[in-house]
């Protein structure tokens, strides 16, 4: 029972992070390798905001989320916008460079020590006992619920929302979309903003649950195989991929604790050998990149 809860929590973490990879990739064919760092930045923003709103946790979260959205938009506006139309490799390398820049900045501004935003907000994290005797911490439970909500919202947005439809159109064929009067820059900026927002939400909840250090980047990087296993351009795939990767990781860690960091990548390699475009990905993708 506890095992099942662990699997669900880890999968939810991966799912919440990996939808950021999917959003950006689906819309602009750019693989954002700075996603882990952006997620960590979101958590640190929460830490700073927490000192302003010490008593009002909801307001602090909302403010931090708004700031993360702004960060995502700014990243596109000042950095990635110049990379549209360049080689894919150049764009990916730019995100890598952005990643190490953020990593350094975070340490410079907030120091490398472990921090606890939950304490700064005056929240405690009591475990909830589920029927069956399994335990889950409050924030982990919130994270699972939040993942469900985010995915439901994204599905509806992409399916029915005016801007969601535009985003899908831009992802399918940028040239035609632009011809139909869709402003690609706005769409791309929106994708970056949303992706950073969801990533930051994941970062904040993880930080509230278990504290915050620079090692959070690793979680972000490990969520990437989940996105790819499901298919880099499919949200449903990201959900399923996260479940697969999460399950594999939780089960294999019992075999050897050192394995924890490689399991997602082993799954990834297996997937790339069998079906490189992922479970739900579009096959033609491979030739387009």
């Amino acid at each position: 029972m506890q095992l099942l809860v662990n699997i669900i929590v880890l999968s939810a973490i991966y799912a919440l992070i990996s939808c950021g990879y999917v959003l950006i990739y689906r819309v602009s064919r750019v693989l954002n390798l700075a996603h882990g760092e952006l997620m960590m930045l979101g958590a640190y923003i929460l830490l700073t905001v927490a000192s302003l709103f010490t008593q009002n946790a909801a307001a602090a979260l909302a403010a931090a989320l708004a700031l993360s959205l702004a960060v995502g938009l700014l990243v596109y506006l000042f950095l990635m916008r110049k990379m549209t139309g360049e080689m894919v490799l150049a764009a990916v390398l730019t995100t890598i460079a952005l990643g190490i820049l953020l990593r350094g900045l975070v340490v410079l501004i907030w120091s490398a020590q472990q921090q606890y935003p939950a304490q700064a907000l005056g929240l405690d994290n009591p475990p909830i006992v589920l029927p069956g005797g399994a335990r889950i911490s409050t924030f982990a439970a919130i994270l699972v619920v939040a993942t469900g909500l985010v995915y439901a919202a994204l599905f509806t947005f992409l399916r029915f929302g005016r801007w969601g439809v535009r985003m899908r159109a831009a992802g399918q064929n940028p040239l035609l979309a632009a011809q139909r009067g869709i402003n690609l820059h706005v769409i791309y900026a929106l994708a970056w903003g949303l992706s950073t927002l969801t990533g930051a939400l994941a970062g904040m909840l993880i930080a509230l649950d278990s504290g915050l250090t620079g090692t959070m980047v690793t979680i972000g990087l490990k969520a990437f195989p989940a996105a790819l296993v499901g298919g880099l351009d499919s949200l449903a795939g990201a959900l399923l991929g996260s479940l697969i990767v999460g399950t594999a990781e939780v089960l294999l860690v019992y075999v050897n604790p050192l394995l924890s960091d490689v399991v997602p990548f082993l799954v990834l390699i297996a997937m790339l050998i069998v079906r490189p475009w992922g479970l739900f990905g579009t096959r033609e993708e491979l030739d387009r990149v």
Binding site: L31, L79, K82, M83, E86, V88, L89, A90, V92, L93, T94, I96, A97, L98, G99, I100, L101, L102, R103, G104, L105, V107, L108, S111, A112, L221, F224, P225, L228, N256, L258, L259, D261, V262, F265, L266, L268, I269, L272, I273, P276, L286, D287, V289
Partner: protein
């Protein structure tokens, strides 16, 4: 590859001249003077300067290898640190378990690298671009895991120590000797690379990078040339890893993080894609960069308080420099160098005449 302008016209009259590596007398003399300076450098340099130069040579081997793969064959590999680790660990394990000498570990590392190159290269037969980058990234983590596993299994929790190697009965402990050995290895790598890219293999890679489908239609077996690119690169990188292990006298998996891969990519980008000179310039720049930052921190007023977080400052500054090069100077240092060269070549004119006269 468009070679930089050398002589001011086309003066080749025989095949021998076509094969020549160095064309004009001015180039020959300047190269000779440069080589002489490099060889004489240990006589005047301080131990710190020697160490810096040795690091540059070590990095240059890896950067040249990565340049072959990415700049010439057009394959992306984010597993460079994994390959270095493979070389270093082959050396470390062989030394620890079999107490093998230098002349055995070096070829063994190269062999291990070549085998790993096949493994790294196999995905490239099916995958392109991003997916290839991702698969090599995954392999990097697998290699890192294997290294960590070995360390914990054998109880070397902090890393594997390696004694200095002996060459012709001499223990390699002196910094000057190391400098010369590494210089020789770097020069050999450069020579191999130069000759590879002007041979059939290099031309095949060039076609492969430009457009795979067309290359295949022209009768180039792209699968085998891709694998060759990976194997050669990996073998060279593993040799660099082996030398790194001996030079440091210590192997630990922490040294081979993803940041190392990023550093090598930075060398290739900052130096200039698709140019061996770029790989060399890039390795000089990236090796010296942390020391420049440290110096700048101490020299600038008000920056002293960041000196305790040197690693973080380094990472941040590194990111900024990489971004600046990617955005504003995609051709890297070589691009700047060529522009300066052109400026003087064309003086007093500012542009090349249409039709590319003089090239």
């Amino acid at each position: 590859m468009s070679s930089p302008p050398r002589a001011s016209g086309y003066f080749r009259t025989g095949y021998a001249q076509d094969f020549a590596l160095v064309e004009t007398r001015l180039r020959r003399t300047s190269l000779a003077v440069f080589a002489l300076l490099l060889v004489c450098y240990p006589l005047i340099a301080s131990p710190f300067g020697l160490d810096l130069a040795s690091q540059v040579f070590l990095n240059a081997i890896g950067a040249l290898a990565l340049m072959l793969l990415t700049g010439y064959a057009g394959q992306i590999s984010l597993g460079h640190a994994g390959l270095l680790a493979a070389g270093a660990y082959t050396t470390g394990i062989m030394f620890r378990e079999l107490s093998a000498p230098f002349w055995l570990t070096l070829p063994a590392s190269a062999l291990a690298g070549a085998l790993l190159g096949v493994v790294f290269g196999l995905p490239s037969l099916r995958l392109r671009g991003l997916y290839l980058a991702v698969s090599t990234l995954a392999l990097h983590f697998v290699v890192a895991y294997l290294g960590a596993e070995y360390e914990t299994r054998r109880g070397f929790s902090t890393g594997v120590t390696i004694d200095p190697p002996s060459l012709f009965g001499h223990e390699l402990t002196d910094g000057r000797l190391w400098y010369l050995v590494l210089l020789a290895f770097a020069a050999a790598t450069l020579l191999i690379c130069v000759n590879l890219i002007r041979s059939r293999t290099g031309r095949a890679w060039n076609a492969l990078r430009s457009r795979e489908t067309v290359a295949e239609a022209l009768g180039i077996p792209i699968a085998s040339y891709k694998l060759i690119a990976f194997v050669i690169t990996s073998a060279m990188t593993s040799v660099a890893g082996c030398l790194f292990a001996y030079y440091r006298g210590f192997v630990s998996i922490e040294a081979f993080s993803l940041f190392l891969t990023i550093q090598y990519f930075a060398m290739v980008i900052i130096g200039g894609m698709g140019s061996l000179l770029g790989a060399l310039l890039g390795s000089v720049f990236v090796t010296l960069f942390p020391y420049l930052i440290e110096g700048a921190l101490h020299a600038l007023p008000g920056m002293e308080r960041y000196a305790s977080d040197l690693a973080a400052v380094n990472q941040a500054a590194f990111g900024v420099v990489m971004i600046l090069f990617l955005l504003f100077e995609p051709l890297g240092l070589v691009g700047i160098w060529r522009r300066i060269q052109n400026y003087f070549l064309l003086w007093p004119f500012r542009y090349r005449p249409v039709g590319g006269g003089g090239r």
